[in-house]
Amino acid sequence: MQDLFTSFKDNCGFGLLASIDNTPSHKNLEDAVTALSRMMHRGAVAADGKTGDGAGLLLSLPKSFFDKDAKAQGIELPEIYAVAMVFSNNDSDFDVINKVCENNDLKILYTRTVPIDTNALGEQALASLPTIKQVFVAPKGAVAANRFEALVYLSRKEIESELMHDKTFYIPSFSTSVVSYKGLVMPTHIKEFYKDLGNPDFEISFCLFHQRFSTNTLPEWKLAQPFRMIAHNGEINSVTANRFNVVAKMASAKSDVFTDEEMNRLKDVIQKDMSDSASLDNFMEFLRVNGVDFFKAARSLIPAPWHNAPHMDSDLRAFYEYASTCFEPWDGPAAVSMTDGRYIGCVIDRNGLRPSKYIRTTDNRLLISSEYGVLQIPEEDIVERGRLQSGEMMGIDLKHGKVLKSTDIDDYLKAAHPYDKWLCENMSYLQEHVPTAEVKKTSIQYGNMEERQRYFNFTLEVMREIIKPMIAEGKETTGAMGDDTPIAAFSNEQRNFTDFFKQKFAQVTNPPIDPIREKTVMSLNTGFGERQNILSDGPEHAKRLKTVLPVMSAEKFCILQEFGTQGSEKYDPSYKVGSYATTYKSDLKKSLDVLVAKIIVEVRDHGIRTIILDDRELDADNKVIPMLMVVGRLSQELLVAELRSLTSIVVVTGEVFDPHSAATMLSFGAVAIFPYLLYYTVEELEEGSDEIKATLKRFRRAMGAGLMKIMSKMGISTISSYRNSRLFDVIGLSSDIVEECFDGTYGLLNGLGYEDIDARLAANHKRAFTSDFDGQKNALYKGGYYKYKKGEEFHDFSRPTILAIQKCAETGSKEDYAHVQKLVNHRDKKFIRDFYELKE
């Protein structure tokens, strides 16, 4: 837990200012600084007025200023050069820079110590102040401009990776078009600190600006924004999934700009130990340097809500659906200003959760910022005063001096390729084939149904409190009062493995979504199939099998299998199915290792693409590995083996019986679920009904609504952003299990290991498969988890405790209170506090 004390999240005030026709002036700089200073209340300010969480400017290269400065040193800057802004604490870092640049055919023209005034800094900033230098670099020979930019990027990534262990070393910018001036300095003092900025020769044509508000008080110089391309106000709720997915995508990324060997050298696209915003910047920059269109990149990572937007232009929707086959939304509140030097723009998240307001003035400038009034502009100088709406983007084509509104950008994007045609020809929805599905009645007996129900904790209470109400109400049922039971790790009763997992939720730094009233921004749209090269476009990218709900019907599950089975009419090797039983006899850990290793081989060597994990072979002799454990572990191993982006994991399981258990599977990497035992149970409960199909459909919808609820708590709108997000805390499992199966999840109170879980499963199994359980055949467990039942799960507000509390409240007598003390203070290892005693 100790690492959590110093972790952080951040938000801010942000914006951009640009001369629409790209004319440099010192006024642009001064106004940007003023605008930033007038949003100080959006950042954190310490009592000295100097210490904050960081602020910065990403500026167009002040060419005339740099030229003059170089001349004074007797150096003539060439027409094309790049500038690296460097934070460093060791002179030897510059040897590394030298070496890497040399190796990449770049020559260092000169290194400039950036003049600073430390009086502008607060105590904390001063203590961590790095040396700040600018390194001017030019290509050794004649190269194309984009190749030079690519070599600069490659060099920076290599330098970063070589100096990875130096936590203070950082390159705020290294570019031919922009330079970063940022740090732990207040906006009001930034001009004083960076003396360059006070020089009237320092003329810029555009600028991104940002003031940070971090939740901790241990700010670092490198975490100040803007980053290399963006300044972000907001929080990426899905960042764990996005980072995971970037790694997965890299395995199949082919670049036109970099050779394969070079691509290998920049494998770590996402820099470690940085913020969510920095990760978005990393990926955006990677796409851009590889030639992905500026606007396409922006709208692929932060798309408008298109799934349930029937009013949206169909070609634009086609663009978004196409883009979704390669990119998952970086979801969460976002106002992002961004530039690649050629374009500058600002994009708002799909739900309009961060403010962004713009003003165009008579002197042909555009100012976008979190608030109006950050510059005192006389009303008569205002040409346009507007705001960006949910999911909108606006930008400037700096080369042609043109403002691009959201519709201009949309028109541009949708016209780039015949997306609609590509989708029509290559994308298939499983629903289309449902009428042809040959499904044996889903109530088909797998045998041992009651044993299975007992093994998977389908208690009478679960039937009564969970499953039946979902059938009746078409949604997860409402309860009242709190949870007064022990966590799974401390319980003496049979508990589900998914009980060890506690859902994460948004609070303060990001908002949850209303999945009912704002469902227009949400979607459970799910795709199967290989991920294509994210750096290219083509009809093959559109090839996906789709369904609108990850909890699959028997029909859809059957069709999915047909697509992946050799010999079937529908067979397509992109969906080749491999089914794997998750049963085991003994040694949980070893069984898991063997199973996962086997699947990896089959994916690598036998072209398996749809991995079906199946626990139906559970019987009197075979236990099953917790499905969640298999999913988590397999997903991780596939990533390491660089096979993750080729595969879709589907689970056939008895472990899923409610939205929570379904969400755990998806969050750790499953793409779809076929909860056979749950369907069997629903059918059994509805026996005799003529409308079983409709009931099952309603039931699945209820599961879907429950999933949306869980995603929305974390402010995530699409299932594609939720998948691999690992948005749970694990309480009470060993660090081995957490690291090997649930990496990226926070493990609290590490404890039970594979052997402990194995022992619990063995006991559950033995009890479940005892035929004369409870003296009757085929009886289910009573269950007492949701409501207190004598002899079942412990409840702290049990009947006896309630009576004892009420008695002593009535009498006020110490003797009666002693009874409460006995029941509560001596309840024995039910809650965390019970494991501590006052020193004796």
Binding site: E371, G482, V820, L838
Partner: protein, 636 residues
């Protein structure tokens, strides 16, 4: 308990008295609505009697209780903003922002129509029998700087109250707590996942959030690691029942302790878990008059139990050799992991961190950097009129985006003297030139008129109760934006005219304000329960989602509005019919006033050609506009 801590046991007479311990106790937030009036008032009187604090919960409070033993010392500000008026906020010693609730973190709530009795409806500025929805997020907190803004708003309306922020235990709550401390909250509450609720999806109750111990340990230590522990008070809740629970919570870092389910059990709750059904058989969590008669709780029972519990705390302190709870807060060397095989499987010992630094709050208030000198100066000029409104006053001033929560401090002063009645209309007129900062006119009292020549920002008229805000400029009209997002959130009255567009979620949870604007972003009138909204221009999508009251009129020049309506609860109707003549002329009268005050060309045009232009209006209102009346139950 033979303490060999670091001290020798002392006589219990040396330990601080019960009254000092009671000061650290409160009852957890439970709204008038989720629980019965009898239960709510019993807890309030009991807490006020012993010197603890009761919590209003989200749902307003009967003004008759203010200033009496029945007043809740803690007033909650939750996402629904029900009944959050200037007087309500001013009546509190502590203002609690509920960011999350232990039973259902990351979710909103619903008070089913069956529990919305006439009294409940009047306190919440809504109609009886209509289900009330609290949104999952506070629509003015999407981000830490937004929370800082709300805390700032609350510190302006009631500078004497502490502002508390309620969080739920989860890995990472420490850094959130540090951020909240930096946003100038005075107190942070770490709730356990075991907290209760009147209604929540059954999976949420079970599977979201962590035990309070983990969150408290993390928050306490993260605040220490960030050198912020001395700025804030920490409170915890979640199934606390005995003095031993309290002492352990103290040792793990909490200075204050709240009791929710426990308090309800004392007054009769037997955990039937039917709060959401209005069928509580013991009269605790129901509004049914017959069931309420079965309420057996009383003030004495609550006092008895808290006395016994505090007595146990004193006994333990004596054993440990400490004179006060304050002294043991964060002293985790007083705890040992139990000697037990099962316990050894887990890393309990590691949770007993030892970081340097203070363990308790060291300041009376966590003062914001921005002391709002601007408005304090204004108040000096306005005070005579506030005290004696017989002489109206007009001030002409400049304003900038650095002047946040403008007129909120003034409103607080008005509410302190005159309550929600405020001042007579037009007592104070503030003519301002420039761009106002965030939260212009937040929680505004009756009697203030603000005219802005310029623009506003986000949260204009948030929680507004009365008065008038008019924003116009020489660059205005439906093509210009003059305001930001989430205006009129939770407003209970007053008038807002914006001579231009505003941003997303306009009028969210409005329950009484009247307004005219010339365009909006997405989700307009979301969760609205009352008031009148007129939009003379384009709107975004998802209009009227969750809207259960009030009326909206939209001028649909381009003829594409109908598609933007979320039809789940509302319908869009044409109003140039006999049936709606009241509404039609109500609209016309409002437009006249708007045109006069803003000079809007569009409004003038509509008025000139009213017979033609009225055809372009839609009225959006809840379906079957008449409210359903509470169905009498059980064959009465």
């Amino acid at each position: 308990m033979n303490s060999k801590s670091d001290r020798k046991s002392i006589s219990i007479d040396e330990v601080e008295p019960l009254s000092e311990i009671f000061k650290r106790f409160s009852t957890a937030a439970m709204s008038m609505g989720s629980i019965s009036q009898e239960a709510h008032e019993t807890l309030a009187v009991a807490m006020n009697t012993i010197g603890g604090k009761s919590n209003s919960g989200e749902g307003g409070e009967n003004p008759e209780r203010y200033g009496t033993q029945k007043n809740s010392a803690i007033k909650q500000v939750a996402s629904g903003r029900f009944g959050v008026t200037p007087e309500y906020l001013r009546s509190a010693k502590e203002l609690q922002i509920k960011v999350a609730q232990g039973a259902k973190p990351g979710e909103g709530g619903q008070l089913p129509g069956s529990k919305v009795s006439p009294l409940i409806a009047s306190l919440r500025f809504t109609k009886p029998g209509v289900t009330l929805i609290s949104p999952p997020p506070h629509h003015d907190i999407y981000s830490i700087e937004d929370l800082a803004q709300l805390i700032y708003d609350l510190k302006q309306i009631n500078p004497h109250a502490k502002v508390a922020v309620k969080l739920v235990s989860t890995a990472g709550v420490g850094t959130i707590a540090a951020g909240v401390a930096k946003a100038y909250a005075d107190k942070i509450i770490i709730s356990g996942s075991d907290g209760g609720t009147g209604a929540a999806p059954i999976g949420s109750i079970r599977f979201a959030g962590n035990p309070w111990e983990l969150g408290l340990i993390e928050a306490h230590n993260a605040l220490k690691a960030n050198n912020l522990r001395g700025q804030v008070t920490l409170e915890t809740d979640g199934g606390l029942k005995t003095g031993l629970d309290v002492v352990k919570a103290a040792i793990l870092g909490a200075e204050q302790y709240a009791f929710g389910t426990g308090a309800l059990v004392i007054v009769g709750c037997v955990m039937l878990r039917v709060c959401h059904l209005n069928t509580c058989a013991v009269g605790v969590a129901t509004q049914d008059p017959h069931l309420r008669k079965k309420f057996t709780g009383n003030v004495q029972k609550v006092i008895n139990y808290f006395t016994l519990m505090a007595g146990e705390v004193r006994e333990i302190l004596a054993e440990l050799g400490y004179k006060s709870l304050e002294e043991i807060v964060g002293k985790n060397h007083l705890l040992d992991v139990i000697d037990d095989d099962f316990a050894r499987k887990f890393n309990f010992a590691e949770l007993l961190y030892k970081l340097d630094g203070v363990n308790t709050c060291q300041v009376p208030f966590n003062e914001p950097y921005d002391q709002n000198e601007y408005e304090k100066e204004l108040i000096k000029e306005l005070m005579p009129t506030i005290k004696d409104p017989s002489t109206p006053i007009v001030l002409n001033k400049e304003i900038s985006n650095l002047n946040r929560s403008f007129a909120t401090r003034i409103s607080g002063e008005i509410a302190a003297i005159h309550g929600n009645a405020g001042l007579p209309d037009g007592s104070i007129t503030l003519n301002m030139k420039g761009t106002a900062g965030q939260s212009l006119g937040a929680f505004m009292s009756k009697g203030i008129h603000i005219n802005i020549d310029g623009a506003g920002n986000d949260y204009i008229g948030k929680g507004m109760h009365g008065g008038q805000i008019v924003i116009s400029s020489s660059k205005a009209g439906h093509e210009f934006a003059l305001g930001g997002n989430t205006c009129l959130y939770g407003a209970t009255g007053g008038t807002l005219y914006v001579h231009g567009q505003v941003g997303e979620r306009f009028g969210v949870r409005n329950s009484g304000a009247t307004t005219v604007v010339e365009g909006t972003g997405d989700h307009p009138c979301e969760y609205m329960t009352g008031g009148m909204v007129v939009i003379l221009g384009n709107t975004g999508v998802n209009f009227g989602a969750g809207m259960t009251g009030g009326k909206a009129f939209v001028y649909d020049e381009e003829g594409n509005f109908y598609e933007k309506v979320n039809p789940e609860l509302v319908e869009a109707l044409r109003i140039d019919t006999d049936e709606w003549d009241t509404e039609m002329f109500e609209l016309k009268a409002l437009l006249k006033d708007y045109a006069v005050k803003t000079g809007s060309k569009r409004a003038l045009h509509i008025l000139e050609k009213f017979r033609t232009e009225i055809r372009k209006f839609w009225m959006v209102a809840p379906r079957g506009i008449k409210p359903t009346i509470v169905a009498d139950k059980k064959g009465e």
